[in-house]
Symmetry: C2
Subunit: 455 residues, 2 copies
């Protein structure tokens, strides 16, 4: 079978994970000696339906990509075959990022039009980054947000139930599987079932058993007995293969017979709220874990209807963010060097206007709650706490990435400051993001100037 | 920065891309010397909303995984740290797949409950595969299906418009980016903008230019001129940065001035149908390419309203299958060796019943159209053409994977045989999948037998 049959994206071919037009433009910039410094903003023009905020995530992966970016032999060979010029490819082969990056720290709530990432670099470099940074930051932010919505429901209606990502098999490919686990952890999850994510990101891993274990034995009782023989007190038994209530009784008998305190039982089908109560009657001291179709709405329903559970295992809904499977991150040129100075830039495309210029995001709190943000020019004097931190300067990493645990703590702390009406699961209020006077003026002036050129 | 900051799934850690419970169960099977032969079916219990069929895809990746699966040092070290037994891990370190796999060829329409993949192997091996095979086949089938829906609209309402995947940046991670490109190609696309997919899977790559190219020059005209200087007749100019109609006129002037026949212009915002007609008035001989929010519904609307376009570049809607972002593939034990013979097996979990036993899928045609399928026991004598082919026997690959082009041709041929009412974009009819007499009897008998055990 060919080397590429599985189709891995690895350090060897990651540089090719880009849209062809980025390389086409880069060659044009190179050959035409047009390489001005440019500033690009990565932002969400609109938030997905029923999202009053998004949680920033994926920065570490985006920066790692930027810092280690390189076109090796395999990439250069492919581009040679596809007609790129030798001289441009020689330049590409030695390309390194020499610019600046500012960003929202991971785990921080962000709102529409706020730059999650701002890149200032020679346009040839800045252009190339577009595809990967949107891909990584967009997806992880989508999932961190979905995770936070679930954790928020547990915080409001529950008593510290655990949340574990069970979604790998339904994620959109293997990268989504591991990145969802990471993003979910940022969003307040306790861990993942995905072993590779555990190894890659040092996330706690959890697991129980599948129906196939039960079915592979002649009886459910024999299956439970064998598992308990193997795992003792650590056993979590899946009790819904044939009949959940009957399964709970057998689990109780097996635990008694083998003299173990089960770590728990798992319910994976049926009316989970009602069944959890019935099972609790039978297994009073045993933790009940809930899987199957779990999302933030199901968690709320389960908890507010008196369901009894020690933890939830969301899967598909988490890793595909099923109710809102996309967030349209864009990476737009907002300023470009002209005659030796940075000039604001924008496009006028219908319905797709961007705010020009390098920016500052100021967040103003009142009574320990976020009150409003101000989207301003970077140079502007403004109230509120600056949200963007400097991550890379002149190509050098100047930011110390927090460990995931710290990012999670930051996410939980900042989540508490998002107004409850903005955190609503359905029809949340819009958070107040104000445009600063200078940014507003700059936008109007530039718009008029561009419109004049049209006539 | 740590080696794992980007978090790649590579041959080195792919074996860990599994749910912890698979390994927990495998250790249990191993230590308890319980390793019967088992048959697992991968199938979709229900098709997603508004899907009358799914197109099978991802088999080659799933099989490559199965055939090359290995736990290397890095994986074994991690599992050692996480408390797995040394003896079991020694076994794991030498594990190779020795079983059989049957499957639907890629590009074939499949329906609910039909096994896309059937694995028969010692349970310890068969169990491990679950996470990756669902992940790869589930996602690629979802996207191949989405792509086919778009190609189907072009076949019905258009005149051979090209379709190019522009979705990488909005895909759920990098693996989704490249696998979406592959699946879209299977589903009738002409190519992708993703360079890595081109290199990995030998898919044609396409690209134009971004708004940033335009904005980086003082005027749109200067931007067009410079691009045309670089790329001549191959230029495709993006004309909506400031005003689409004005952009078209400038493009015409630049083409005349530079004496080139533009390869095309791209529209990326506004009322695309109306604008395409206006632009066609200005640039009669120039191909118009349409991007921005393209999906099968937009394509239908554009073409039936007389929009003028030579090609479409679907992005987010394609790679996230936005209207149906999940398909719940399951991998269920359907038979297990007991007393030396394979016995059918099923669970009774509410709403999640499976058909027991190794199966055959027969497809019956009438007048060159699919009429009904029969889901039967593998051993049963039945009408219709067998859909499952043997792919791996005793661990050895016995199937020659067609190249992607051939898979696409197969997909286009078989799509034409799916009844039009089943192919409808909204509220499609259910295709008739019949349960064979023997499978029906076996299901009822086993169900009664299991229910008797409960009482």
């Amino acid at each position: 079978m060919a080397r590429t049959a599985y189709g891995y994206i690895t350090p060897e071919n990651l540089a090719l994970f880009t849209d062809l037009y980025e390389l086409t433009m880069m060659q044009g910039y190179y050959n035409q000696s047009h390489n001005p410094t440019a500033t690009f903003d990565l932002f969400f023009r609109d938030l997905p339906p029923n999202r009053g905020y998004m949680v920033a995530a994926g920065l570490e992966q985006a920066i790692h990509y930027i810092e280690t970016l390189s076109f090796g032999e395999r990439a250069i060979d492919y581009l040679t075959e596809h007609g790129f010029d030798e001289e441009f490819l020689s330049h590409l082969a030695t390309l390194e990022f020499t610019g600046d990056v500012r960003a929202f720290p991971e785990g921080t709530p962000v709102f529409a039009n706020e730059p999650l990432l701002e890149v200032t670099a020679p346009i040839l470099q800045g252009q190339l980054l577009e595809t990967v940074v949107i891909n990584q930051i967009g997806y992880q932010s989508l999932i961190a947000t979905k995770a936070v919505r679930m954790r928020d429901m547990v915080r409001r209606h529950g008593d510290g139930q655990s949340l574990v990502d069970f979604g790998s098999r339904r994620a959109h490919g293997s990268d989504a599987g591991v990145k969802a686990a990471r993003a979910a952890y940022i969003g307040g999850f306790d861990g993942t079932s995905n072993v590779a994510s555990g190894e890659l990101f040092d996330i706690p891993i959890y697991g129980t058993m599948a129906h196939s274990w039960i079915q592979s034995f002649e009886t459910e009782r024999a299956a439970f007995e064998t598992f308990v023989d193997e795992y003792g007190d650590e056993s979590i038994l899946l009790i819904d293969t044939y009949d959940t209530v009957a399964g709970a009784k057998i689990a109780r008998e097996v635990a008694a017979e083998k003299d173990v305190d089960l770590s728990g039982v798992r319910l994976d089908s049926g009316d989970l709220t009602a069944l959890s109560k019935e099972v609790h009657e039978i297994l009073e001291e045993t933790d009940i874990f809930i899987s199957s179709g779990v999302d933030e709405f199901k968690i709320r329903e389960f908890l507010t209807n008196g369901g009894i559970g020690a933890g939830f295992g969301p899967g598909t809904a988490l890793v595909t963010s099923t109710d809102a499977p996309k967030v349209e991150g864009v990476y737009k040129l907002v300023a470009v060097e002209r005659d030796g100075a940075m000039q604001p830039s924008m496009k006028l495309s219908t319905g797709k206007v961007t705010y020009p210029g390098a920016k500052s995001v100021r967040r103003v709190e009142r009574d320990d709650e976020y009150h409003h943000d101000i989207l301003a020019l970077q140079s502007e004097d403004c109230n509120g706490a600056e949200q963007l931190v400097s991550v890379v300067e002149d190509g050098t990493l100047v930011y110390e990435f927090p460990d995931l645990q710290s990012i999670q703590e930051h996410a939980m702390r900042t989540l508490s400051k998002v107004p409850p009406t903005v955190r609503k699961l359905e029809d949340p209020d819009s958070y107040d993001v104000r445009i600063s006077p200078d940014l507003d003026t700059q936008t109007s002036v530039l718009r008029r100037q561009l419109e004049r050129q049209l006539t």
